[in-house]
Amino acid sequence: MRKLTAALLSVLLVFALVGCTTSQSSSENNSGSADSDNKKEEKGGEKILLLNNGNEPTSFDPPIGFDSVSWNALNNLMEGLTRLDKDDQPQAATAEDWKVSDDGKTYTFTIRENAKWSNGDPVTAEDFEYALKRLADPNTASPAAFLANFIEGAKEFNEGTGSADDMKVKAVDEKTLEVTLVAPQNYFLSVISNPAFFPVHKATVEENKDWATEADTFVGNGPFKLTKWEHSSEFEFKKNENYWDAENVKLDGVHWAMIDDTNTEYQMFKTGELHQSDVPADLSEQLFEEGKAQVEDQSGTYFYRFNVNMEPFQNENIRKAFALSVDQQKIVDFVTKNKEKAAHAFVGPGFKDPAGGDFRDVGGELVSPDAAKAKELLEKGMKEEGYDTLPKVTMTYNTSDTHKQIAETMQQMFKETLGVDVELANMEWNVFSDEQKAGKLQFSRSSFLADYADPINFMENFQTGHSMNRTGWSNAEFDKLIQDAKAESNEEKRFEMLHQAEEILFEEMPIFPIHYYNQVYLEADNVEGIVRHPVGYLELKWADLK
């Protein structure tokens, strides 16, 4: 009998040791879940919105978490000087009022008397000064630091040639903040609604550099406060009673899960465990037909880059021949099937000019499919270069089903229209990104998402040597137009310059567009008031559950 016991014990030996490490955690987990069950019962009539953040946020420290997994949530935990309203226009938020100097360069903000942090302290101009200098500080190593370059002295400070004192952000008194810009920018009020420009509670940040990593040390000034954060698992918001506009916040809280798998997210949406879900790719057609999937614009463009330093794309006509062979409408109708708008220029729709027109409508279509012309241009280009046969063309995309389908469709279009056999290559994203930046890809898939709501954000990418250029393309006239537009205070003239710049871009065609991005989602019927901006982050301030 003793032997049998020994044998059985040894079989379980492996488990026993592991058991030691798990027992503690399982008891913790059990007590934790019991708690949350109780809370759910208590909640009863409370309005808790159930959302999915997909992944663990990179960081809730405003200048660090430069991505949507961080800023979609953070946008509701904090508030900048302005906040975008339901029509995407900047409105007074933490700042109740502002004055702009005659030259359009100096902004004087008055911070609301009743603007408070979640710990009860007043939000001061000093908090803003500290936060903006922290954004530009090279030691903060913020990936969003370049957004501060609008402010005089910020660029130099970030590049290590200037200092914090020379950056023109100044707390004049407790409630007055003065910001001086490099050049007048009418869209500055919209730019500062971006989370990079959120204030931070100076005392908290100076005392504890890890203040933004846990719920109990986090201090915000937004419509909601962070009450619970279990890393990689979930976090929870409660309504912030200290928020200046708390009476207009209708939700009692928000629960954020972190579900990385779209199918699982969709299943949870169907069983009511989530109020909102992305649309699984396989089901998008069906969900659109049933009218369940909803669409909002997102400012950004899916496009392809030519490398103008590699044969045969040093030739403008050959680049144009390729661009004119692609039928964007067919790609969005039959390949992506996600209701994107086909793109026939680079700047997306949604930017109003001073006359009230949409930048895109005024600029019109700058590249449209034209098979006959494409053939003609290819012949012309080959003659110019003395080619009998076209050098080998390889189209590269980063590994993903959608990118692959789009690339294969384009391959077919090049074959049909130009009679050219294009090879396809895919690379894992990180490798792809390295090669594209190093200028090693001949013809590659690209994307751009706007950081702030102005056409110049799109156009500035293609200045000579810009980090987003990645085509080797350079045009002095284009560069000058962008620089002039950045310094121009007359809006009409500025828009005119941007239109001219875009025309130059498409005359020389170092890139060509496929579609503008959009946001497709499912939402439960009892949810209302969630705002999705084309440029900007998820807005829950006015959200409600019926």
Binding site: S25, A141, F146
Partner: protein, 309 residues
Amino acid sequence: MGKYIVSRFVGALITLWIIVTLTFFLMHLIPGSPLNNERNTSEAVQRNLEAHYHLDKPVVVQYGIYLKSLLQLDFGPSIKQSSQSVNDMLGQGFPISAELGFYSLLIAVMSGIVLGILAALKHNHMIDYLAMTIAVIGISVPNFIMATLLIQQIAVNMELLPVATWASPAHMILPTVALATGPMAIIARLTRSSMLEVLNQDYILTARAKGISTFNIVMKHALRNAVLPVVTILGTLVAGVLTGSFVIEKIFAIPGMGQYFVKGINNRDYPVIMGTTVFYSAFLILMLFLVDIAYGILDPRIKLHKRGD
């Protein structure tokens, strides 16, 4: 015994050091960088970030910095999830993965051994075929298909259990079952074949001749020999299952550590790649060692040491 353990321990440390070194340099050889971002940034921003994470220094210097912090058991900060250090990630993720893995293995071992024994005892009868059909299904249906099926049928259609996450015991049932089917099938097949072999041996015949009941023969005489191959694979299975199944954890949104193995590499998050690799290697080495010891206890013919102790 003491000597044996000491020599194994030293060997384990050397193995670990080799793994750390190889992983470190291989990982820096992969193209790409943790700071790659499809979005716009400026060169100054990129330089500041590199300096912040010491990525501007030569790889050998970075290796030195890493070894130094590793000796203090500090795996460093995650570059992509700056709100957590790698120690926190492993500290929070491992217990959850271990819990999921432990329950799955328990189910897999229990049901696998029972299925295997039944199949061997009723060799070439209905029960045998039934048990082996279950085993073949378990082996050939990948666990992510099993997971999706379970979610669709039990959670969405019948609404018996929640779809995903790790919030309560009810949430744990589906992922545990989905993860258990594969190992269960392997164990059932192994048990069956070694049981069949053992049951045909002379000492079992002797035992039968003495009139011992089938139950006692199986439990006292046959199983102990038949279970050895199961113990052999258990070492690897335990390390694999307890440190997290990426697929199951992703589908069920379980905050375990499996996700970090894949995300770390996709993001080139160097400290996370190193942390998960070191942790997994150490754990695997420990499990293999425990299996060796379990052999000695189960089968006196296997000696771990020459003489003494």
